[in-house]
């Protein structure tokens, strides 16, 4: 197995002190998976299920109140295994953008609003590429944009002068500037219109082909997963409830939650109202006992209320955490 | 890192410079310099020394060091000191001609001799030029001024005036003699800046702050050709700096750092410097320290044109509602001498007026109506104040003579019940709440227009009076306002904290200066400005007083001493009967002298001259100072 990121029993919680009372939000609560080289891996789930936190943990961007309680995240730069959390500050900073990079959720405000984009690109480049003059770095940035099919003129503008779709594509260009091995994309198409969405997805696909990078896409939108991911995981209340090849999951969803997600997708010619899971995700502060999904599950059993179902292997590439699949 | 170094260097430089450079301008040795505080504060016209044209912050050294008047009053010794004049003025029989004889051998600081021509020029110019402040009296009285010889001038007056010389008698200002050779070359004596200034005093201008905080004077090489040098010898300090401070804290600290030799603080400030410094002394070496011979009386002023203060009995009722012992504790921490009459208790006046009046005061009776009478004078007041000060923990002397010296001769009794009778007799009444009502039934409210400076004597009086009258059941507010001066001069007040009477000369027996503002011809309606705030703003007059003032104008204060004195006593009796303003206590200057560089100050034990640094007489103190070469 040629893993590029492995996550082992990760528990990342937000710890808040409120009026002397300690409150723990279990955003990522025991997650295991591995992402392979040269694949597009998707993480799906409604908002508030912990998927953005999971991305942050993978990126090792741990700002209080987010804390890692257990588990590890490993990177594999140059083939050797590195513990992402125990990396020293400078070493981690160096791996950023060269090994692992990040496309933010909604590019609306990810660029310094008072500086031309050129400056922002240079800031990122200068922090990772030593010994080069400014013009050389600028040439590098221009070439990169051209390779991604974008006009280098955007560098002379201010972020607010770009359209939303364009800005998102520039953000992708910025994230991939140093040809990172892994690219984390957090809701890359949210808040974009359909045309822009398509362009952005195309660009992601191009990047993946061009640089043979691994991309981890996080989005609640199952349509995007269907379009670009090779493998995917479904998260619910801080846990992975199902993982498998994208085509398998869409063809044969095993977890009731996955089925809800898929059914909520609009289908061409379908005039019926979409059926979504009743209710909303539970508060991560007060998780229901047993399977977190049981209050919303139409097939709930007595057992579901008492015990948390483990992630069970169904076949070589398909895993699920549901008591219905037990035995 | 760069920033750190930058700051280290800046701070380092500041420290080093602090060690390397003293406070004074280059070339001025501290031990030969006297530094005195400027009472009137920062000079507003730093480059202009022409005090003939108007107010020029004259106590920046112009009057103390640069200029010499014909005569100067010293209230501490009770003398009149002839400066440019060689003796007292001489009047003819009917007071229509005055002769001035000049001291010979006096030179202006630019080397030109002083002669009768300067005096003639000065008076002549003032008669002719209507823009000069002293034009009024000169034009009114002078018919002709003529030079008899180089050192004799004769002034012919339009009508009899036995006090014409007082316009040349320096008591914090007078018409001083101008250097003719300087002014005759000037087109307009009003706009002329008189810089560099020329004078007959023992010092000349050396330098000054363009922003007006200080003026530096240098002793004349030919100090022996000035009246000061001739009279008292060589002034000891080679340099004198007169410096203004904007805050009392800065002044206190400057004195504690030995950067200020003579200062006038508040009594609290004086306590601080005495407590914190081993070398600072006050006028009196023991408690209560302050100068209590100042020729100024403080108190409360009524506007005698305003109801109900136009009523003598109301004014007396308010006087008797004051418990003077408490009043003094509030106003000045029991440190000042009280005065029942409209005169400050300076030595000369105690002898000439207080003592002769005392028997009369004891017998003085108020008519309360219904055949009731009341004798308000209380000679025990100084002893009561001494008792209260002792309770406060002050070291009060036991000697009765000393107690009367420190706390005054006596004051009016605290007699609220008598005050009540007087008020009820006049239709006042007490409401249900015990508060006083005016005769028309409305609540009696007194608003005392007051000084904004909490440390000043006026506001101290206002505060104490308000406190006493509140206790008596009147609603009193104190309104400190920067517009106080204007309001008082224009009469836009009912009660205020202005001096209750104009300051007398402080020497001799002539009290005309105090009584003149109350002549009926000067009575000014409300809304128009009176000529003189102290005393005059009370807008009161009395035909009996008019008569006395008229008689004084034709009585020579130098020759007819006994008559002058008698007239003064009669006038004071009228004031007491009428009580147009309430005199409370004599102004006290909290003078502090640092004995670090200079000693032999004119303290209470050796009052060879008046003690203030801002009075023109400073020049007569300087020859007596002893240097403590450090």
């Amino acid at each position: 197995m040629d893993a590029i990121i492995t996550v082992e029993n990760l528990q990342a919680f937000y710890v808040l002190e409120v009026m002397g009372e300690r409150k723990v939000i279990k955003a990522v609560n025991g997650v295991d998976f591995a992402v392979l080289r040269d694949e597009v891996y998707g993480i799906a789930g409604e908002s508030g299920c912990g998927k953005t936190t999971l991305l942050k943990a993978i990126f090792a961007a741990l700002e209080p109140p987010l804390r890692i309680f257990e588990g590890k995240v490993y990177y594999y730069p140059n083939g050797e295994r590195v513990d992402a959390f125990s990396l020293a500050g400078e070493a981690r900073r160096k791996l950023r953008w060269t090994y692992i990079s990040y496309i933010p959720q909604g590019s609306m405000s990810v660029f310094n609003p008072v500086k031309r984009l050129r400056i922002t690109f240079l800031d990122f480049l200068k922090s990772h590429v030593g010994g080069k003059r400014e013009e050389e770095l600028l040439t590098l940035a221009r070439e990169h944009l051209v390779r991604l099919g974008l006009t280098p003129q955007v560098l002379n503008g201010y972020p607010h002068q770009l359209s939303g779709g364009m800005r998102q594509r520039v953000a992708i260009a910025l994230a991939t500037l140093l040809k990172p091995r892994v690219i984390l994309a957090d809701e890359p198409t949210t808040a974009l219109d359909v045309v822009a969405q398509r362009a952005v997805l195309q660009l992601l696909r191009d990047v993946q082909k061009e640089f043979r990078s691994t991309i981890i896409v996080v989005t609640h939108d199952m349509g995007i997963h269907a379009q670009i991911t090779d493998r995917m995981a479904i998260m619910y209340a801080g846990r992975i409830v199902e993982e498998g090849l994208t085509k398998d999951i869409f063809a044969r969803p095993l977890h009731p939650y996955t089925r809800y997600l898929i059914q909520s997708l609009p289908k061409v010619g379908d005039k019926n109202t979409k059926e979504s899971a009743p209710g909303s995700p539970p508060s991560l502060l007060y998780l229901p006992p047993g399977c977190s999904f049981h209050p919303r599950c139409s097939e709930v059993m007595e057992h579901c209320v008492q015990e948390i179902p483990p992630l069970k292997k169904i076949n070589e590439s398909h895993w699920v955490a549901c008591w219905m699949r037990e035995g | 890192m760069n920033m750190k170094w930058f700051w280290a260097i800046v701070i380092g430089c500041l420290f080093i410079s602090g060690v390397a450079f003293a406070q004074l301008p280059a070339g001025i040795p501290r031990e030969e310099t006297l530094i005195a505080d400027q009472l009137s504060g920062r000079v507003g016209t730093p480059g202009n020394f022409n005090l003939w044209a108007g107010w020029r912050w004259q106590d920046r050294g112009i009057q103390q060091l640069l200029l010499e008047p014909l005569w100067t009053v010293d209230y501490a010794t009770g003398e009149i000191i002839p400066g440019l004049a060689s003796g007292m003025p001489e009047y003819n029989e009917d007071f229509t001609q005055m002769t001035i004889r000049l001291r010979q051998g006096v030179y202006w600081s630019d080397g030109v001799p002083l002669t009768a021509d300067d005096v003639v020029y000065t008076i002549d110019l003032h008669v002719r030029n209507a823009e000069l402040p002293y034009h009024g009296p000169m034009a009114e009285f002078v018919e002709k001024v003529e030079k008899i010889d180089d050192y004799t001038v004769s002034v012919h007056l339009k009508r009899a005036n036995s006090r014409f010389h007082s316009h040349f008698l320096d008591r914090w200002g007078c018409l001083r003699i101008m250097p003719k050779h300087v002014f005759e070359k000037v087109d307009n004596p009003i706009t002329y800046e008189f810089n560099p200034p020329v004078g007959c005093g023992p010092y000349v201008l050396y330098d000054y702050d363009p922003a007006g905080f200080w003026t530096l004077w240098e002793r004349r090489e030919d100090w022996d050709r000035t009246p000061t040098g001739m009279l008292y010898g060589k002034p000891q300090p080679k340099y004198v700096i007169i410096q203004g401070f904007e805050s009392e804290e800065a002044r206190i600290l400057a004195q504690l750092r030995h950067e200020l030799d003579m200062a006038q603080h508040t009594p609290e400030g004086l306590k601080v410097v005495l407590e914190k410094s081993d070398t600072v002394r006050a006028w009196r070496r023991e408690w209560p320290w302050v100068v209590n011979i100042d020729p100024c009386i403080t108190g409360i002023m009524f506007n005698n044109l305003v109801e109900p203060y136009n009523n003598r009995e109301v004014r007396w009722a308010l006087t008797l509602a004051i418990d003077i012992v408490e009043y003094m504790a509030i106003a000045f921490d029991s440190m000042a001498p009280v005065s029942p009459i409209h005169l400050p208790p300076v030595p000369a006046y105690k002898e000439a007026f207080f003592t002769p009046l005392e028997e009369w005061l004891k017998g003085f009776t108020l008519d309360l109506g219904n055949g009731e009478t009341f004798q308000p004078y209380d000679p025990e007041v100084p002893f009561k104040i001494a008792e209260s000060a002792k309770k406060r923990g002050y070291p009060v002397p036991e000697d009765p003579a000393m107690i009367r010296d420190l706390f005054g001769m006596g004051w009016w009794k605290y007699a609220p019940e008598v005050a009540e009778k007087l008020l009820k007799k006049n239709g006042f009444s007490r409401g249900e709440d015990g508060k006083w009502r005016l005769p028309d039934g409305s609540p009696w409210k007194i608003d005392i227009v007051a000084d904004v400076n909490v440390a000043s004597h006026p506001l101290r009086n206002a505060t104490a009076a308000a406190e006493q009258w509140r206790k008596f059941g009147i609603e009193v507010t104190v309104s400190p306002t920067e517009a106080r001066e204007t309001m008082i001069l224009k009469g836009e007040f009912a009660v205020c904290d202005q001096w209750p009477a104009a300051e007398p000369w402080g020497a001799g027996v002539d009290l005309s200066r105090t009584f003149d503002p109350w002549h009926s011809r000067l009575l000014t309606p409300i809304g128009k400005s009176v000529a003189l705030g102290p005393g005059g703003a009370a807008r009161w007059c009395d035909p009996r007083l008019d008569q006395i003032i008229g008689e004084m104008e034709v009585t020579d204060p130098f020759t007819a001493v006994e008559r002058t004195k008698q007239l003064g006593i009669e006038a004071l009796k009228i004031l007491i009967q009428e009580m147009p303003t309430i005199p409370t206590y004599g102004y006290c200057g909290a003078v502090a002298w640092d004995e670090y560089y200079w000693t032999n100050w004119p303290g209470a034990e050796n009052p060879y001259t008046q003690p203030y640094q801002h009075w023109p007489n400073l020049k007569y103190m300087l020859p007596f100072l002893k240097s403590q070469k450090k």
């Binding site: 808040l16 009026m19 409150k23 | 206190i252 400030g269 400076n453 505060t463 104190v478 400190p480 920067e482």
Partner: protein, 284 residues
Amino acid sequence: MEALRELFRDYRFAVGFVFLVLLAALAFLSFFSPYDPVRWLQVPRDEPPSWKHILGTNAKGQDVFWEATFAIRNSLVVALIAGLVSRVVAVLVGFLAGYKGGVVDRVLMGVADGLLVIPLFLILVLVAMLLREAMTIVNTGLLLAFFGWAWDARTIRAQILSLREREFTQTSLLSGNSTLSLVSKEYVPFTIPLIFSTLISNIAWAIGMEIVLAILGLVRLEIPTLGTMLQWAITRQAMLLGHWWWIATPLALTVILLVALYWLSVSVSEYLDPRMRIQRIGAR
């Protein structure tokens, strides 16, 4: 009041609030004072703190503790009048200018700018001189209110401008709601935290300004406020004479009051910041 409950989760808001309550309690105590705050020589003078006079006595013969209760009461009244009255003006002007725009906006903001560029202090001194004995607690507050609204009116206007751009204004107007109901239902809730935060800084400004006026002797000096207490202590040289209790009391009260207000204002500002809010909501 969901907002309040959330704010109380912040220790700074809670502590600031408790400080304020304590100061208010102190002010309330003044009603039970055994001494008349205006009168002199009520107790022995210049005594250091003791059981009998827990904060000592001053040179006027007043008990510093009881004097302080009146001072804090009067200062709070000045500050509250200044703060609340100027809030009414600032909110009206801000809403009107922001909502109406155009000429109304130009004129109102012109007036506000005019007030901002005139050396305010000059006007305050002049008016204080005019009012003289009328410089009572209430009038001092009103005077400060009159000059304290301009900056905040600008801030509120800016907020309204940004709200106007938002979607719900259009929707609300299209769906036939009246302007009044729009303003009261949609704008007011959004601007209340902002108004509160400007109120707090305005109160702090008013307290400071009252002290300046008092030190210059431009208010009625016999009425105890934090400013006049400081003024008497300064002019009677409490600091250099070592009567620290006299000057330290009003100073400490001023500092405590302003620290409490600062904490409230910081807390409210953070609360206003949407990102912080999400974090708090997450904790629900």
